[in-house]
Symmetry: D3
Subunit: 242 residues, 6 copies
């Protein structure tokens, strides 16, 4: 029995609120249960130095967490003067996930930066961030099409992320904080609309896990990601691809 009484393959209540921010070119408030992540995409007509004249644009992400997003307050990174390893690791993951479905050549001369800020953290902040960041990115690119700066939306696939874990020996989908703190293993999957794998990060918390267990987690993740992508399509007003 999960603490939330969900069935093993059941996502939390998912809400993706597009257009949450007044100023960003694209934005989405992604809620996975009590986890809330505000994703805001900014289009810059200026590339980092190492990409200039490469014929490619860039998509990147930054991640942060409000100090009291968590049950216990965590120190403000700006006050400590450096981002933690965890923060850097997560924002690198978000950036890679978005680039995996973006045609960078089509946005040459542009950088799109997606800020993912956790307003409330009840587990799964990185997966909510990726899932919401995709919506924010889509909306920002759609605006560029509307402005005539791009001809079509340069996305080659859809992307969403979900966590799975072994909780009391059982594979479960979309862990909340209570489950996450007690899971024997924990894996994050970034998957695409066409069923491809973008990233897999699996970690044994306590004792190593087996290949069999890992494949169970992957199966759950495929179901969860398909559900998330359906929600993304709905809020973006898109039909499922034929």
């Amino acid at each position: 029995m999960r603490p939330s009484a969900r069935s093993p393959d059941q996502l939390r209540t998912i809400q993706l609120q597009p257009g949450y921010s007044k100023y960003a070119e694209g934005s989405c408030l992604a809620c996975f249960g009590d986890t809330q992540v505000l994703c805001a995409a900014t289009v810059e007509q200026r590339l980092p130095a190492w990409l200039r004249d490469s014929g490619r644009g860039w998509v990147t992400a930054e991640y942060g967490m409000l100090p009291r997003a968590t049950t216990q307050r965590t120190d403000r990174e700006a006050a400590r003067g450096r981002q933690t390893g965890r923060t850097l690791e997560i924002q690198r993951l978000i950036g890679r996930s978005l680039r995996a479905v973006t045609d960078l050549k089509a946005i040459c001369d542009m950088q799109i930066r997606v800020d993912c800020d956790v307003l409330q953290a009840d587990g799964g902040t990185r997966t909510a961030a990726i899932t919401g960041a995709y919506v924010a990115l889509h909306l920002a690119l759609r605006r560029l099409v509307e402005l005539g700066l791009l001809e079509t939306i340069p996305l080659t696939d859809e992307v969403a992320a979900v966590s799975c874990g072994l909780y009391c020996g059982q594979p479960v989908l979309d862990l909340d904080y209570e489950e996450d703190s007690n899971a024997e293993a924990d894996a994050n999957f970034v998957l695409t609309g066409r069923g491809g794998i973008v990233e897999i990060q699996g970690t044994a918390e306590d004792a190593p896990f087996s290949e069999r267990q890992f494949l169970d987690l992957l199966a759950l993740a495929k179901k969860g990601a398909a559900d998330l992508i359906a929600i993304q399509r709905a809020v973006l007003g898109l039909d499922a691809p034929a």
Copy 2:
């Protein structure tokens, strides 16, 4: 005529949403028009070293702004590795404002830290922060009373803040970003429920202003602060003091 078509002494639509955060001991989302500041109070049973054994507790604040809270994205302070002078100045102001109405002796051995994070910035973020932080602080202290840790809420007065400025030569209340960017002078007032002055910060943007002009701003501020304090009382479920 103000860009927002407000009358000179009219506040923007004010919303104070108490209990916005699931985890904080007290919280409030303060909205002054499109400006949104999430205020979250954390109670710590541990004082900074320089206050131990002083017989006094402490109230302090931290301030931050999401990178895309603004029309143009601003750099993330955590990524730059230091807080700007503006940030430090504002968080010091919030802390002083709260301490001015708190009986620090009554909370000896405790530090209450109020995080004020700007989700969206349309001018007046520091005044919204102070006004919301007071509500968050009140709620956190009320909880300490409910838990039996304090006998009464150790607040000696109420506090709210509002900006005023000279816009096209006219004194106006509660500037939004468009007004703020074009004001000839700009002042922030932190005032109490009993009519006392906690802080005044007045700045000529372009040319010096006169004492007469300054007194006009102060008069507007007194009206605005009284309105804000009435709203604070309402959301806290308090009657006006006799």
Copy 3:
């Protein structure tokens, strides 16, 4: 009775020593009693990136304090690796004060940077810094006129600063450290030669103060600033404006 036996509206002994530094384009050692601030203006033929091609020049300030300027040694900011919020707040104030009386268009392509370093701190370091920085700036600009780089000194007004406070319930002018540590309220005023207000920063230390009290402080400040500006004129060899 004030600790220094001064009357309530009496400044400390003021000394402004122009040309104190051998190398700076303009300089002044400003002494307010035992408070000593060395102000040195540097003219740079190069603007910060965000001002280039704006048609405006810039005046800015930096503030520092020698570690043993104070009764108790304070940590060296360079060794700690960051400037405190207080330092940043003060140097921003000095910069704004100087810009308020400078015709920035007239010095386009130039940045003038005024370093204000406290050699000894007995209260009122920011007001001594502003008062001395104006003299240093004037001298640097005068040199630019002498070199034929400017036609006239591009200052639109004169500026000086002074603190006032409520000490034992009484409004007093130009607080020294002993008064400052025990004042109920403390305000800094930056005023111009023509009687305009550039900045007002008033802070209740303990309990809120009233509008009446604030107006008393402002009246004292006007007298004090007029005295300071007369001294500035004298050391600069200027007549009072007609």
Copy 4:
């Protein structure tokens, strides 16, 4: 055909040199082809504050790379003043991998810190680091047994790591730099002597990969890890477990 002419499931020449460092409690120079990582374990009789009185000890790792370990020089992190996200991510991974096979209760009151410094980088530095760090840790723990501070070596399993990738569409084992730079997908596997999975990190570089492809990589990794663990046993003078 691989650039190195290896067969798809062939490791590079592996050398693990135990006792490389004169001073460390345990050490190993791990060479995977031209990749060289010096691993040195330090035993400290002192825990980080957050673990004191927890009844558990700790194993952690730090990772660094000499500036000219690479074909192009990279900036020295100490000179830049911060470790990159990549560095932090790798050292967190090494630490988790070692803790997964260590009985932390058995080393309560001790912290073992393994420094992994890359002398030369030809791809696979993190997998060489983990594989060498296990040897260094084993040797340090063995010394504690020899000194009578522990009764038995508190390791619950053996651990090694290897990378696999899709190179020209084919799954290959233990990528060198040339392969790594051109791989379509890249995965690092941390596996144990008993066949358990400790960590999986798979990343699509260009386009998403399929579950089938991923399982091929995992199969290669299991073979590679078994070979590495056999080498670890040999240099540690251990028989294979029954």
Copy 5:
């Protein structure tokens, strides 16, 4: 011919002003010509952690330079967020020089920290700093004797420093900035009242120098240091040792 028209073995005009600072336990403004260094000694009844219970006290120094001490403004180290290598090197040298003549066992439980801040820099700031810091230290220790905290002044010798260099092929004493910038070799000598050597730092600027040349510089330094120590004795009101 030297630019200053001094003879090769002639010091600049030396002024040591003891008691320059109002607050420091001991202080001295050291002027070597136009070079001005304010030295202020602080006595702390608290040792750095690594010296506690060692039976020894500590003497240390910090060095800084006002941004406009130099002909061209240099960046403020506090604003840059780190001290330069030059600064760290100089303050380490000053500390070693003072410790070489102090009986650290006699001041156990105390740390004396001497801040040396350059108000104006015309060459030889480190030698002026050492020479002035000795006076500040002596005065601080004398005060401890007067307060009954020490029985005698725990100095085992006197110390002063002077630079020498090869200028246009000729050995000269006490280089000013113009000479220093053009010298072929440059050496700093820290010498004691009894003729001992505490530190020698010699550097070829352009081409290596010979042992013969080095001995000429040492001979000049001995004369210069003797003169400086005589001035130290005079301002401290001491007779020459028998």
Copy 6:
């Protein structure tokens, strides 16, 4: 009797391994007994901004130490976020030493950067670094000649470094860690193949030393440097200059 049983004027076993690094343009592993320093020279076709268009190239150095190079682990500078004063001092010394024998005009438009990383530290790391860095620099320059980018190797002399000290009252050459920790005085000498002096750094550890003692150290250093330079020539395949 020295702890290592060497005679007073005897170097440790010296090994200079040229070409140690696979990627660097020139490299050398310098071993002075158990002290091991990896020196790697990088040629950059790009000068620091302040040298552009000066008609001169540049040679510089960086120094680092692996955390467990020492008997007790030292903190990783990259993790602490700043290089220590000792590190900065040493790398400045290495750079000056190399520049003293390089014709900077002949390498205009190029910067050569020599990284000196201590793998193991048993005293004398800075002298091993200079001695090895010269070999790495020579090899990098030779490669530039082979590539036709330079006509001749632009070195004007050879350079090596060695430490000497007073140990138990006796002058000894090339101190190891045990001697270094107990020496009464300690001096580092950077000398050239033609017998010139590039740098002298002598420090009294405990009590001042005499001119006589210093000259004894210098005599030892001349012998030691001549031996080191002979070894450099041998590994570089050079004859002694006529």
